[in-house]
C-alpha cells in the first residue's frame, strides 16, 4: 500500500499553533554567549585598570573560562542547525542586513583575541602550565610577545566582549514579525545580563576576599540596572500594540507568570541582590555561594523565557483546523 502524505507549508508543527523552531539549544547558547561576554569583558577591564592585586583571578585566569564556555555554547548552536553540513556557508559571505551574519563573524573574531588574552596572562595565571611549555623557545617567544602587548590585547577584547554580549539581543529584536522581541531594550538587556552572569561566576570562583568583594559590588550594580531594563521592557509591552499586550498578559497572570516572576525576578535578580548586599555589609556570609549561583540560573531562565515567549507572539493569527499532532501518528 502506497501512502503519500501532503503537508502544506501551513500545516506544520513548527509554525502551528505557535512558531517553535528554536528550543533549548538556542537558550543554552544565548546564556553561554552572554556569560562569555561578561568573562571577556571583566578579564580585560581588570587588567586595563591594573587590578592585579585586588582581582588576581580576573586578570590572570578568567579568560580561559571564556574559551571553554563559548565553545560549549557554539556546540549547542551547531546542534540547532537543520542543514549542518553547510555550516561553513556562514563564512563565505557577509550580509550587512543580517544580524546573524554579524554574529557569525563576531564569534570567529572572539577566538584569536581570547587566545591572546590567555597567552598574555598564562605565566601569571596558570604558572604550572606555563612552566611546562616555557622550555620550548617558540612558545616562550610567543608568551613574551603576548605579555608585552597584553594591554593592547585587552583593549581589543573590550569591544568584542560588548559586541558578543549585545548582538544576540539585537538579533532577536530585529525580527519585526515577533512583537515580543521587537524592542530596542533587548540588546542592552542581554548585555547587562551577560555581564552580570560573568561577574557572578568570577565572584563564585575567585579565592581572594578582595576579588569576591569587588565582583559582588559590580554584580549589585549590574542587577540594579537589569531590574531597571526589565521594568522598562514591561512598561513598553504593556503600552504597546495588541501582540505586545498579548505577550505581557502571559507575563502578568498567564503561562509565563511563575517562571518570570518566581524564578527570574525573585530568585534570579531580587534574592541575589539582597544576599549580595548583606555580604558586602559583612553579615550572612554563609550564603555567599548562593547569590552567584542564583544569578547564573536567572540568566539562563531569562534566555529560556525570551526564546519561548518570543516565538509565541505574532502579527498574524490563523485558525488552523489541521491537528498537527496527527502527523506524530505516522511514525
Amino acid at each position: 500500500m502506497f501512502e503519500e502524505i501532503l503537508v502544506s507549508a501551513r500545516s506544520n508543527p513548527h509554525i502551528d499553533p505557535v512558531m517553535s523552531v528554536w528550543g533549548w539549544e538556542i537558550s543554552v547558547y544565548l546564556f553561554m554567549g552572554g556569560l562569555t561576554a561578561g568573562i571577556m569583558f571583566f578579564s580585560a577591564l581588570t587588567l586595563l585598570l591594573r587590578k592585579d592585586d585586588e582581582a588576581p583571578f580576573a586578570v590572570n585566569g578568567l579568560a580561559l573560562l571564556g574559551l571553554v564556555v563559548l565553545s560549549l555554547g557554539m556546540t549547542t548552536l551547531f546542534l540547532d542547525l537543520d542543514h549542518k553540513l553547510f555550516v561553513w556557508r556562514f563564512y563565505t559571505t557577509f550580509e550587512p542586513t543580517s544580524p546573524m551574519s554579524y554574529g557569525a563573524w563576531i564569534l570567529i573574531l572572539f577566538y584569536p583575541v581570547a587566545i591572546l588574552q590567555v597567552l598574555s596572562t598564562l605565566r601569571t595565571g596558570y604558572g604550572l602550565v606555563a612552566s611546562l611549555v616555557d622550555g620550548v623557545p617558540v612558545i616562550a617567544a610567543v608568551l613574551d610577545w603576548a605579555e608585552r602587548y597584553r594591554r593592547v590585547i585587552a583593549w581589543l577584547a573590550i569591544p568584542i566582549a560588548v559586541a558578543l554580549g549585545i548582538y544576540t539581543g539585537i538579533l532577536l529584536s530585529a525580527f519585526s514579525a515577533r512583537p515580543f522581541w521587537n524592542t530596542g531594550l533587548l540588546g542592552p538587556l542581554f548585555l547587562i545580563s551577560g555581564l552580570s552572569t560573568g561577574a557572578a561566576l568570577t565572584a563564585l570562583i575567585a579565592r581572594s576576599h578582595s576579588e569576591r568583594r569587588l565582583f559582588t559590588l559590580i554584580d549589585i550594580g549590574l542587577i540594579a540596572i537589569e531590574l531597571l531594563i526589565v521594568a522598562l521592557l514591561l512598561v513598553n509591552l504593556a503600552t504597546g500594540s495588541k501582540p505586545q499586550l498579548d505577550a505581557v498578559a502571559k507575563l502578568l497572570g498567564g503561562s509565563y507568570t511563575l517562571g518570570f516572576w518566581g524564578v527570574f525576578v525573585a530568585l534570579g535578580l531580587l534574592l541575589p541582590l539582597v544576599l549580595e548586599f548583606f555580604e558586602i555589609r559583612g553579615s550572612a556570609r554563609s550564603f555567599a555561594m548562593l547569590a552567584p549561583v542564583l544569578v547564573l540560573v536567572g540568566g539562563y531562565v531569562l534566555r529560556v523565557i525570551a526564546v519561548n515567549l518570543g516565538q509565541e507572539t505574532s502579527w498574524t493569527h490563523y485558525t488552523s483546523e489541521f491537528n498537527t499532532h496527527l502527523l506524530d501518528r505516522l511514525h
Partner: protein, 112 residues
C-alpha cells in the same frame, strides 16, 4: 535576515527563492516571516518556501496554482507593466494585503 545569502531575489524580480546549497538551516528566516510562509524541508534540513513556480514563470507560464484554479480566481503577472492583467486589476478593483503593518510591502494582493 539570511546570514548566508541563501534567501535571495530571483532574476531581479520580487520572487524570493532559497538556494539549498547556501542554507545552513538556522531558521532565522522562519522567525522573520510574519506570515509563517517558510518551512523546513525534511529530511534534507534546508529551508524552502513557495517558489511561485519560478521554473514555469521563466518559460512564460503561470504558477501551477494559478493555472489549475477552476474558478480562475488567481492572477499572476508583472506589476511594473501597466498593460498587464494584474496592473489593470489593481487599478480597477479594491484590494488589500495581509498585515501591511509589518512593513514588508508584500506583493500578494487580495481583491475584495
Amino acid at each position: 535576515m539570511c546570514p548566508t545569502g541563501a534567501s535571495h531575489r530571483w532574476n531581479d524580480s520580487n520572487i524570493v527563492l532559497v538556494d539549498p546549497n547556501k542554507c545552513t538551516g538556522c531558521k532565522a528566516c522562519i522567525a522573520a516571516c510574519p506570515y509563517d510562509a517558510r518551512l523546513i524541508m525534511h529530511p534534507g534540513g534546508y529551508i524552502d518556501k513557495c517558489t511561485f513556480c519560478s521554473h514555469r514563470v521563466e518559460k512564460g507560464l503561470d504558477p501551477a496554482c494559478v493555472s489549475t484554479c477552476p474558478t480562475h480566481c488567481m492572477h499572476f503577472g508583472v506589476l511594473n507593466d501597466p498593460s498587464s492583467t494584474v496592473s489593470e486589476l489593481l487599478r480597477t478593483r479594491k484590494h488589500k494585503v495581509l498585515n501591511p503593518e509589518t512593513g514588508n510591502e508584500p506583493n500578494v494582493y487580495y481583491l475584495i
